[in-house]
Symmetry: C2
Subunit: 378 residues, 2 copies
């Protein structure tokens, strides 16, 4: 199979870049003397995860849905952390996965939810393994590390027969809003310090806290010391994307995922090229809109065609992309974009764009293409 055999729009993975990104993170984690619990929510693909595992320094995975947990468990992965606060209507499925031999860990951030989960676990006669979610940067969920609630939750989880207290976790989502190495280092240290602080508070209260889990791609690539942390969760680094390039933790040349699209028409008076990759193919994510460089709905990839970094998907309908020059005063080089020409477009947000596809076309260093699986939904 060659690239001309792929019907558009499709999702491509550059295996050379993917392997390089994976090695980079593995080396960092090794240098920091920690372990990686990779977040699979970006790729949701056993073929990608196998490459992450082969690079070493991992233990288990992190998932964002129980559907991912089922998929990876079916593919032989047993050590799984479900990183989104549990909902009561998901406990039956969690229990079923435990029953089938999956070492599934869940998270929650309130006394009320701890009570619900503990009661459910007691009723089932099998404890749920729980991390307490911490709010270390005001981004979304979690209890404050200095709160009384943290100790109350810890005590409740530890003392109930329906739960096992395994530790604490956080996600410094505000790192996505950073744009300098200094700011990134600061938020990475804050994520580490506040999480280790919470772990020590639990221990000082006589409670167990074996797991101290932090992570995001920007903080994992910025932190200088992970003393006290037992695992790092990061996901998007395998592919990277325009948002990560805007933050500065990768370059455009690291982005391993792109959308393949065909030129289907022109509106020359408007300086437009029309393609078959609209927002269904790119996702509606406009994550670079608030960054220094707004990349529209995606950046057209240069492979020596002479439009390096200059063509963007400037707008999108459901199945139509509108490509034009970044600088509206510059004319599109229509001669280089014949009808049917294949373009590759880098996405703003790999997690969102990949979520629109049910498979990948992986291209190795020799240009050979293979299909890789991907799962979606809940």
């Amino acid at each position: 199979m060659k690239i001309n055999d792929i019907q558009t729009p499709s999702l491509l993975v550059d295996e050379v870049r993917l392997e390089r990104n994976i090695r980079r993170m593995a080396q960092r984690i090794e240098t920091l003397g920690c372990r990686l619990r990779p977040h699979v929510k970006t790729h949701k693909s056993i073929e990608v995860f196998e490459r992450v595992r082969n690079a070493g320094h991992t233990h288990g995975i992190t998932v964002s849905t129980l559907h991912e947990a089922e998929y990876f468990f079916e593919h032989g992965v047993t050590d799984i952390f479900y990183g989104v606060g549990i909902a009561p209507n998901k406990l039956a499925q969690v229990a079923s996965l435990l029953e089938r031999g999956c070492e599934l860990r869940i998270t929650l951030d309130s006394v009320e939810m701890a009570e619900l989960v503990a009661a459910d676990g007691e009723h089932r006669g099998r404890p749920f393994d729980v991390l307490i979610e911490l709010d270390t940067d005001g981004h979304r969920s979690g209890v404050l590390p200095e709160s009384l609630e943290l100790l109350k939750i810890g005590k409740l989880l530890h003392e109930s027969d329906g739960t096992t207290l395994s530790g604490v976790m956080t996600h410094a989502g505000d790192s996505y809003a950073c744009s300098s190495p200094k700011a990134l280092l600061q938020i990475a240290r804050q994520e580490r310090d506040r999480t280790v602080f919470a772990a020590n508070r639990l221990r000082d209260a006589g409670l167990p806290c074996p797991v101290v889990s932090v992570g995001s791609t920007p903080t994992a690539l910025s932190i200088d010391d992970l003393s006290g942390v037992t695992e790092v969760r990061a996901g998007v680094y395998v592919f990277f994307d325009l948002v990560m390039a805007g933050i500065g933790v990768c370059t455009i040349d690291d982005i391993a995922v792109s959308v393949l699209t065909s030129v289907i028409g022109y509106q020359r008076e408007k300086n437009w090229v029309v393609t078959d990759a609209g927002w269904m193919a790119m996702s509606r994510d406009r994550g670079t809109a608030g960054q220094e460089v707004d990349q529209g709905y995606g950046l057209v990839y240069d492979e020596g065609q002479g439009f390096a970094g200059d063509l963007l998907v400037v707008s999108a309908n459901q199945e139509h992309g509108i490509v034009s020059t970044r600088d509206p005063s510059l004319p599109v080089a229509y001669g280089e974009l014949p009808l049917g020409a294949l373009l590759r477009v880098f996405p703003n947000h790999a997690c969102a764009t990949a979520g629109q596809y049910d498979k990948y076309y992986a291209i190795d260093g020799d240009g050979l293409i293979s299909e890789w699986s991907r799962t979606n939904g809940w």
Copy 2:
């Protein structure tokens, strides 16, 4: 199956509202003396389409991908128009569908593409059935109705053994930017007039133009006379959404699709409720951001819970939704939102949100729930 048996997040269809929306469009089309070629890109579901067909006044369907064409053809629908400008790498699949008995029609908007398609059809010894796409409002693709190019394309398609010229089509996408009945009527008349004008130009040049196809939900619900038009394409009206309510062609009480989500936590100091429907469940579509009423990532549906129109999904991570009051000075009524409570959220854009799911839970007037299929991808 009852609503409490559904794991969140999930996509719900209110059958009562769906049937009412379908009847409304069927009655309009009947009154206008026209026929509907419903666009299935919103729902991509045979169960929804069957209800549209049962309401009458339809012939065939419109699809936005060849994958939809395959799905509906497998379910017995043979008269299909693929409404996105054809790409050369899709012609083999189009030919395969024709071979299998599908009456598939395609569209294009340039002499160059007409030449490519005609050559391909001649080579295969089987003509492609083509509508010329018109640009009637400057929105995206299409040739201008008054252009010389229109006649050149028409002549080429008519004279080639590789193509059959079947007529003209347009989509007045700019209608989505309208917000008054007067503006909508104006753009609907413009869509009709410019399309009929193009059809007559072809006929005056001695070319056939049996099909004169227009459509969008806003224009279909606004036009007063469809003389000269042979078919109307509209899709989102079956579900409607917050964008359509913002345009004024439906009310919030017409919206037939919603996302079911669970309350998983609180950040009370921030006046937040955290749910398990983030942007993966809602889509990244922020279509109401530019409208008079910005509905965030979705409006929490009121079913007598006492927060009518006042709670929004104000921000979203991949699998976390942040719900708060529309007026930040008003406190969230936490007592009405216990942990595990199920909320329904209306989406900005039904096409985008439904695209995140592979099935529907349809709820009938008695609260009985059945699963309906949906297809995605390309």
